[in-house]
């Protein structure tokens, strides 16, 4: 078996709570009834393996647009491996990421109330394929923090990068966010702290790569492994 063929429900404490009192949208959009248990069948343990035929990849450099001038801000190099629950690399899998610019503004029409400036040299989105080791890498700009408006409890989102990950089955599909180590705003973020388990929260925070371990000297390096659901029912190595 080359791909995971066994998918279990998530381990609850390592996943976020669904309703967050001060996050109004979570109260308006979460179902009021608990989800129904269903058997897992072939549809759930399969998924698109050749997505690059639909989704254009090779967009690894967010630091400039069409070879134009470099975006404002601190250059960062974000890399890591995509693994399944057996620790096996997930190869040739699409990784999408998006983020705010250095001032904390998204290039998106929904970010219209934010007074922070746009950066014409920064789109803030990229897409790539994982390699034979399951590795991905992006060159980008350190995102700024931004305030969440129109809430009873206003708060600052700490610098973060959004990830959209596919894996090898429909049940391995994952949307998540990556945080930066040592950011004071991490401690007060309502979304990061919606994950009850401390180890779970730690899995969302990237690790700084010491400069001497990085091949390039122009960007601050961060290592961030991503783990999607799915393992193999037959133990490997037998």
């Amino acid at each position: 078996m080359t791909t995971p063929n066994f998918f279990e429900a998530y381990d609850e404490p390592s996943q976020p709570v669904i309703r967050i009192a001060q996050y109004r949208e979570s109260l308006l959009r979460s179902p009021s009834r608990p989800p129904y248990k269903r058997p897992v069948t072939l549809t759930e343990i399969t998924g698109p393996l050749n997505l690059a035929r639909k989704l254009k990849t090779g967009m690894n450099d967010l630091s400039r647009v069409n070879n134009g001038a470099r975006a404002m801000g601190q250059l960062i190099w974000v890399t890591g491996r995509l693994l399944d629950e057996d620790g096996m690399p997930v190869r040739g899998s699409v990784i999408e990421l998006w983020q705010a610019n250095a001032a904390g503004r998204y290039a998106h029409k929904a970010d219209s109330q934010n007074p922070a400036p746009h950066d014409p040299n920064f789109l803030g989105s990229g897409r790539c394929l994982t390699d034979q080791e399951g590795r991905y890498a992006f060159l980008s700009i350190k995102p700024g923090a931004y305030p969440v408006p129109n809430h009873a409890a206003r708060w600052w989102r700490p610098p973060h990068i959004h990830f959209s990950i596919f894996g090898e089955g429909f049940m391995s599909r994952l949307i998540t966010q990556m945080y930066f180590p040592g950011e004071p705003l991490n401690a007060a973020d309502l979304l990061l702290n919606a994950v009850p388990d401390e180890k779970g929260r730690e899995r969302l925070v990237a690790k700084w790569i010491p400069m001497m371990q990085l091949e390039r000297a122009d960007a601050v390096g961060f290592e961030h492994d991503l783990v999607v659901r799915g393992h193999r029912a037959t133990p490997m190595g037998f």
Binding site: R33, P48, P235
Partner: protein, 203 residues
């Protein structure tokens, strides 16, 4: 020795998923990357509104679907019949609900199959995942077709004990503006919360 890992926690997709990530062909499953090479089967169109609480239409929701081809096969090694899968059908699509909360897909009617894991007979169905700001985890459900005798045996359809609730997962034949002329059109509204709430499954 296998090193056991714990999956990375899920988070909301938020409101800022890049518009440029929604490609023109992503909501049309009847071809993969060459519009001249079409998937086999009966072309269908599925559309509906997404509502949050109080029946407020929800724009900017990310909807993804996954389904077998017209012959009930997946182009995936976990399917013992994968060598029979239609090479011009990927089975995956993605769409953002528009300013009025409308989502839609063009695809082919999926075939049913006998599940190799459980032995259950699966009726024709389409798996759906909804991602939105406010949803820390995605919501998953499955759509079924009207007048399918196989629904009565389907283990996922029947995982919902209340007949009136599982009925909400059955596509309704409808005349829809966005439907291609050669497609059979169905409507299914998705209610995230409140009266007529769509049943969702444990992910």
């Amino acid at each position: 020795m296998v090193k056991k890992r714990t999956p990375t926690p899920s988070h909301t997709v938020g409101p800022f998923f890049p518009a440029r990530f929604f490609g023109e062909g992503d909501y049309d499953l009847t071809f993969v990357d060459d519009p001249a090479k079409r998937a086999q089967g009966q072309k269908i169109y599925i559309g509906g509104n997404i509502y949050e609480a109080e029946r407020v239409p929800r724009w900017n929701c990310m909807v993804e679907i996954w389904q077998p081809d017209a012959g009930g096969c997946f182009n995936h090694p976990n399917d013992p019949r994968h060598s029979h899968a239609d090479p011009n059908f990927m089975g995956w699509g993605r769409r953002s609900s528009d300013d009025a909360g409308w989502y839609d897909f063009v695809t082919v009617k999926p075939g049913g199959y006998t599940d190799p894991l459980t032995g259950f007979r699966r009726a024709p169905h389409i798996d759906v995942a909804i991602m939105s700001s406010g949803l820390m985890r995605r919501l998953v459900t499955t759509l079924f077709f009207p007048d399918e005798p196989a629904n009565a045996e389907d283990p996922v359809f029947n995982a919902i004990p209340e007949a009136d609730v599982r009925e909400r997962l059955i596509l309704k034949p409808a005349k829809l503006e966005g439907a291609p002329a050669d497609a059979t059109a169905y409507r299914l509204d998705i209610v995230l919360q409140g009266d007529g709430e769509t049943p969702f499954f444990v992910d």
